[in-house]
């Protein structure tokens, strides 16, 4: 582990995991800076949950290693897990116990102060129903209780796998407001896996994209944006002719629908140039707009 990597909350080297013939995670090198909100994105079956399970030592990699806070997980699991909180897929709760009892159970296991329970309940706003049995909780309440469990030991690293699963829009918004607060107010690094791109886009300071087990991109949202070029959307009366005009002029053009064209550009100045070229050739332009690719556009392009 290089000295420079000690600034990373999570670092993996060549992480690989197979399930018989399927390589679920293929040579993945994650680098999650401390204090960041790292959005881990990928379509279903891309290897996100398998990767997370290896980060938490729930399953063993077939190759490569996991380092948390610069230390190898395999050797220092107990010590490192004291600094980690996790929510993996569905909440793991005992339905016959109350919310408070579920927290008390984990508190007993990890040996933290009793006061942490009230603090965790306050953070997820579950104080009012904490003494109700979990079997009577809605999906959203269970998700929030699971998050409280993950926050119980005041972790330095919070690993969340699909934390907005089952939440209603109000719950999703609450989660979206809570997540960026954690690094700012508590210095927590958040590793957040999701297939809901719109949620990650709003909170992530760093992004990793996996597809078919491979890490396709890793960096900041700005670096991701730069991966895909700007486009100009053009709506014309004679699309075939417009396409020929632009192609002759050296533009890369795509057709999207009947009279809707997309032209790859290098900046705003190209917009006026395109308009001028089309009008010169007698093509009427009804609509012209510069489009920045969204995270979804980039994600789909990378993972297709």
């Amino acid at each position: 582990m290089a000295q420079t990597d000690r600034h990373l909350a999570v670092c993996t080297r060549g992480l690989t995991r197979r399930f018989e013939a399927l390589v679920a995670v293929d040579d993945v090198d994650l680098r999650v800076p401390r204090g960041s909100v790292y959005g881990f994105l990928g379509p279903n079956g891309a290897g996100k949950t398998t990767t997370i399970r290896m980060l938490l030592a729930l399953i063993r990699p077939h190759a490569g290693g996991v380092y948390l806070f610069g230390r190898p997980l395999r050797k220092y699991r107990i010590e490192l897990m004291r600094r980690v909180g996790a929510l993996v897929e569905t909440p793991a709760l005992y339905p016959h116990l109350t919310g408070r009892e579920n927290l008390e159970l984990t508190r007993r296991l990890v040996g933290v102060r009793r006061g942490q329970i009230e603090r965790a309940l306050a953070t997820v706003r579950l104080r009012d129903i904490a003494d109700r049995r979990v079997k009577g909780y809605s999906t959203g309440m269970r998700q929030r209780l699971a998050l409280a469990l993950a926050l119980l030991n005041d972790p330095e690293l919070l690993i969340l796998d699909e934390p907005t699963n089952g939440l209603d829009p109000a719950g999703i918004r609450e989660m979206r407001e809570l997540i960026p607060r954690l690094p700012k107010e508590h210095g927590v690094t958040v590793f957040l896996s999701s297939h809901m791109l719109s949620e990650v886009e709003q909170v992530a300071t760093h992004i990793g994209i996996v597809g078919r087990g491979r890490l396709l991109f890793q960096g900041t949202p700005a670096e991701l944006q730069a991966q895909l070029e700007d486009r100009v959307a053009v709506v014309v009366d004679r699309p075939d002719e417009a396409l020929q005009v632009l192609a002759r002029a050296g533009w890369t053009v795509g057709r999207n629908g009947t009279n809707y064209l997309q032209v790859v550009v290098n900046g705003r100045s190209d917009v006026t140039l395109i308009n001028a070229q089309l009008v010169e050739q007698g093509v009427n332009v009804f609509h012209l707009a510069l489009e920045r690719p969204s995270l979804e556009d980039i994600f789909l392009e990378l993972t297709e």
Partner: protein, 252 residues
């Protein structure tokens, strides 16, 4: 050791409001209730020579308890204890905590034996209660008032030691396989087999018939030492091997 203490402390909370705890307390009532009902109806207890009425009455409870109810009870309560974690996908939470996996497994083993001990103590208390009720309602049974507490408690202690082996096997199965039916099917089949196997020369060493063997000749104060050692020491060995297996499993 601290980790073990913490996991045991947590396990006590987990059993709150569960069927496993109620079964431990109430199942002995079935045995004692049935036997007392018969004696109440007959009005007499036919006691062979060489033993007292209380001890023979106790023998009738402990033989059924040891041969049939204990292995079935262990099957059911280990299945329930295992299912508590499997059903709620608890392993993804438990194994991400800063707690050694071995401590979690060991706690499950201890919890299983503790529930059996609790049920055996319940058997002792309900047996004594049933005997007192019989003496009051039908003095002709001839129990008297000299209750052999020491012998009854000694039997509860023997069960706690001898049951380790079958408890360790059933606990390993219940934690190894998610399906509740696997634990129950193995336990029931092996218990029924034990009813026949106990008559073989080596039958007393069949894990599911071992406690029944210890119960045999209880009223004469005979302790089957080889079987007791096999059950207790064998239980610890199986528990360690089972722990090595289960704690290495991937949580998928």
């Amino acid at each position: 050791m601290k980790a073990m203490a913490r996991t045991l402390y947590a396990e006590i909370l987990k059993l709150k409001r569960t069927l496993a705890l109620w079964l431990a307390l109430l199942v002995p009532l079935i045995i004692v209730g049935a036997n007392c009902g018969i004696y109440l109806q007959r009005g007499t207890i036919n006691v062979p020579e060489g033993t007292t009425t209380w001890l023979w009455y106790g023998q009738m409870n402990v033989v059924i308890w040891g041969l049939l109810m204990i292995p079935l009870f262990v099957t059911l309560e280990t299945a329930l204890v295992g299912n508590l974690e499997h059903a709620n996908d608890q392993w993804t939470h438990l194994y991400t905590l800063p707690v050694p996996r071995g401590a979690i497994y060991a706690t499950k083993q201890i919890a299983s034996v503790a529930l059996v001990t609790l049920s055996s103590l319940s058997l002792v208390l309900t047996s004594v209660g049933g005997g007192v009720a019989l003496q009051l309602l039908r003095p002709s049974v001839g129990l008297g008032w000299e209750i052999p507490w020491g012998r009854f408690m000694a039997y509860a202690g023997l069960i706690s030691l001898g049951v380790w082996l079958v408890s360790a096997i059933q606990t390993w199965i219940s934690l190894r396989w998610k399906n509740f039916v696997v634990t129950c099917a193995v336990g029931v089949a092996m218990t029924v087999a034990g009813v026949f196997i106990i008559h073989a020369d080596w039958g007393g060493f069949w894990p599911w018939a071992l406690v029944g063997t210890l119960a045999n000749e209880f009223s004469e104060g005979v302790v089957h030492v080889p079987e007791l050692l096999f059950g207790s020491v064998g239980g610890v060995v199986v528990a360690v091997l089972g722990g090595w297996d289960v704690t290495r499993m991937d949580v998928l």
